[in-house]
Symmetry: C2
Amino acid sequence: MRADAARNREQIVQAARAVFTQDGPAASLNQVAQRAGVGPGTLYRHFPTLQDLLVAVIKDDVSALCARGRELLTGPSPEQALRTWLRAVAGHASAMRGLVATQLAAVTEGSALAACHDEITATGAALLARTGSGLDIADLLKLANAIGWAGEQAPGDQGLTDRLLALVTLS
Amino acid sequence: MRADAARNREQIVQAARAVFTQDGPAASLNQVAQRAGVGPGTLYRHFPTLQDLLVAVIKDDVSALCARGRELLTGPSPEQALRTWLRAVAGHASAMRGLVATQLAAVTEGSALAACHDEITATGAALLARTGSGLDIADLLKLANAIGWAGEQAPGDQGLTDRLLALVTLS
DNA sequence: CCTCTATCCGGAGAACCTCTCCGCTTCGCT
DNA sequence: AGCGAAGCGGAGAGGTTCTCCGGATAGAGG
C-alpha cells in the first residue's frame, strides 16, 4: 500500500472512532470522511461498508476481550469466570452508543465482523465448557449483546446492564 | 375533525402498518405517505413523529396485551403467569421486524409511546406482585424488550426468543 | 340549494444521507 | 527525471426527513 494511502486509512479510522463515539448508530459516514479530511470516495474505497470500518475501529478491543477471556480460564470458579466475561462482552457490545450491538446483530457470513464474532464465540465456548452446563454459547452471547444494547438505550441508568445480567441463569 | 381528514388519517395508519411490517426500522415515511395516497405534508401534520404514527398502529395490540395480562392474573401459578406474559411482551416488541423494540428503547417522558409503556408497566407490576419476588418490573420489561429485539435480528432462528427467555430467572 | 370560511391538502424544496464514477494528482520505482 | 500505476476526492444520482404555504374543499349557516 502506498504511504499516502496508509496515512489516509489511519486518519479515517481515528475520525470514525470519534464520530461513532459521539453519534453511535446515527453516525454519518460523510461526517467521518469530512473529519478525516478526505473525500467520500476515499472513505468508501478503504471501507466499502460501515461494518468494515467498524471492524477496523474495534479490532483491538475484540482482541483484548478475548485475551481477558483466556486469563479467566485459569481462575478457580468457572461459573464466576463466565459471568465476569459476559459482563465484559456486554460492555463491549454497548460501546459507541450501541452501534456495535446493532451491527453485531446483523452480522453476515463471511464478513469481517463475522471473524470478530467467531473469535469471541471460540473464547466463550472455552469458558462455558469448564462450567459443565448444557447451555448454548451462541445464545448466551446473543443475550449479552441484547443486554448491552438495552443498557445503552438508557444512558442515564448506569447499573442497568449489571442488573439485567444478574437476571440471567448460567446453570 | 373533518370527515376527509379522518379518512386520510385512517388510510395513513393502514399504509403504515403495511410498510412497517414489510420494512421494519428501515421503513420510509415517504413510502407510507405514497402508499396512503397523500402528500408528505399530510402525513406529518397527522403524525409529527414516527413514534406518534407507531402508537396509532400498535394501540390495539397494546390493549390486547394488557387484557391478556389481566386474564393471567386469575390463573393458579403466579410465576408461570408472569413468564407467559413476558413471552407475549417479547413477541409484541419484536413485531414489525423490531421497529417496536427500537422505538420503545428510546421512549421519552410524556410522549404517546410513554403512555403505552406505562399501561404495560402497570399490568406487569400486578403480575409481578403476585409472585412475591423482589424483582423490578421495569428491568424485566427492558429485558423482555431486548430479547424480543435480539429474536428479530435473526429471523431464521425461530425459537431464539423462547430460548433466551428461558435463561431469565424470575425468583 | 347556495355561499363562504375555516380547515385541510399535498407538492415544491431545503438540507441532509449513502454510494459511484472518473478525470486529475501524486507516489515511488526505474 | 520520467513514467505508469495507484490513489484521491468532488460532482452527482437517487434516496431520506421534514417544512412551508398557495390552493382546494367540506360542511355550517343563511
